[in-house]
């Protein structure tokens, strides 16, 4: 299922923020699921700086976290997901 690569096999999806972040990108931001990959930059997915700021806001709401401005320096989707996962781990600890 290349159209939705990150969710191709639910058993392989790591526990964490990835499925929900991808869902937000596809559902709210209208990102083509076929273009979603961990290596894609958010610009590749069609998000400009304002959209990225809005995405961070949505992610914070979704996971109940608050991303520090200094941390919001990710370029790729993979980096964004890793960042959120670190916050979630810290929150759970």
């Amino acid at each position: 299922m290349a159209a939705f690569p990150l969710l191709s096999n639910p058993k392989e999806v790591p526990v964490g923020s990835q499925p929900q972040i991808v869902e937000v990108l596809v559902q709210k931001y209208g990102v083509d699921a076929g273009k979603v990959s961990l290596d894609a930059t958010l610009a590749d997915l069609g998000l400009d700086s304002l959209s990225v700021a809005e995405l961070v806001f949505d992610i914070e709401d979704l996971f109940g976290i608050e991303v520090k401005a200094d941390d919001a320096e990710f370029k790729t989707l993979g980096e964004a997901i890793a960042l959120v996962d670190r916050y979630l781990a810290a929150k759970g600890a």
Partner: protein, 413 residues
Amino acid sequence: MGRRRVLVTGMGFVTPHGDQADRIFERVYAGESAVGLYRSGRGAAEADVVLGKADWNPDTYVTPIQKLAMDPVAQMAYAAARHALAQAGLTGRADLLSSAGVYMGCGLGGAATYEQGYESYFTKNSRRQKPTIVPRVMPNAPAAHISMAFGIRGPSLTYSVACTSSAAALGEAYRAIRDGYLECVVAGGAEAMLAEAVVIAWESMGVIAKLHPDGPAASVRPFDAARTGFALAEGAAVLILESEERARERGAVPLGEIVGYGSSSDAHNLTQPSREGQAHAMRAALADAGVPPEAVGYINAHATATKVGDVVEVQAVKDTFGAQASRLAVSSTKSMHGHLVGAAGALELGLTLMAVARGRIPPTANLTQPDAECDLDFVPGRGREAPELEYALSNSFGFGGSNASLVVRRIVD
């Protein structure tokens, strides 16, 4: 450089009558109202209100990501501009558009975004709010999005003078081309203020039409003895203005000509209109056009169906046109599309241009029992054939006492 002629080569609309220019005119000409009864507010404040909601599908114009940074007011402006540029044959013409200007009118900016932002702040009591609020709210966002979308690099200006906003934008754009500053301007207005608290604010002024026993379509009754006000409406209207030289050089088909613009201030009262101020604007527009009152065959009136406003405008028309006033056709198309506030002047100028081009005068809907003080020829009910119609005038009068009148002419040579 002397005065240059200013032609209109494209028009685009998003209105309660839809987003197709020809269809909008046909429906208005037939006397068909597009306002409806909508539930507004919530809880104890919930009520049915006569409003003019834009009949369009934003998803056919903008993507979800674009919407993040665009309040509906900017989405409508962009859609109207796209239609207008397409009709003008300017789609994809970056070579011509890079030197053009964008002159837009907007009364309130991103009203829905304002409201959502305030609600979020006051209910969450948090300093953490969406980063897109400011760029969505700013009243110049419609102009900015048009500039960005079509690569327009000349002046991008926004006129915010209440109900006169887009008439002022069009008038100033006309002057910029007439006087040689620009060859082409994308000009018009946009307004989207049907947010619930905004509607209530308008209601509290006593200017919103009450539901008529015959239904919402019968509720807006300009010049009628039983008038109660207007239907607050949303939408956008954009016209492409070009110098005659530029339009002819590229073989554009002119739809009409703007020949005069008059602008005045009442210096009188924030909300009460002034007969003198309105007549001043109309006289200035006629003088600018260099035509006598008897040349004008039709006035698209500002006429918002308020008790005071309609009578004052009738008096001002009489002051301006003298004996000619009784021979003029005067109609209020707001009776059908509602009051688009910052987009009203541009929509009504567009309808006026279509009226002279087609020789068909749009009517005033719902005028069955004229007010004794409103005694002009208001073209009640249905439109009227007027093949000889050459010049027409469109009025816009705003809170704050800002008035604008524009004179248009059918293409005759």
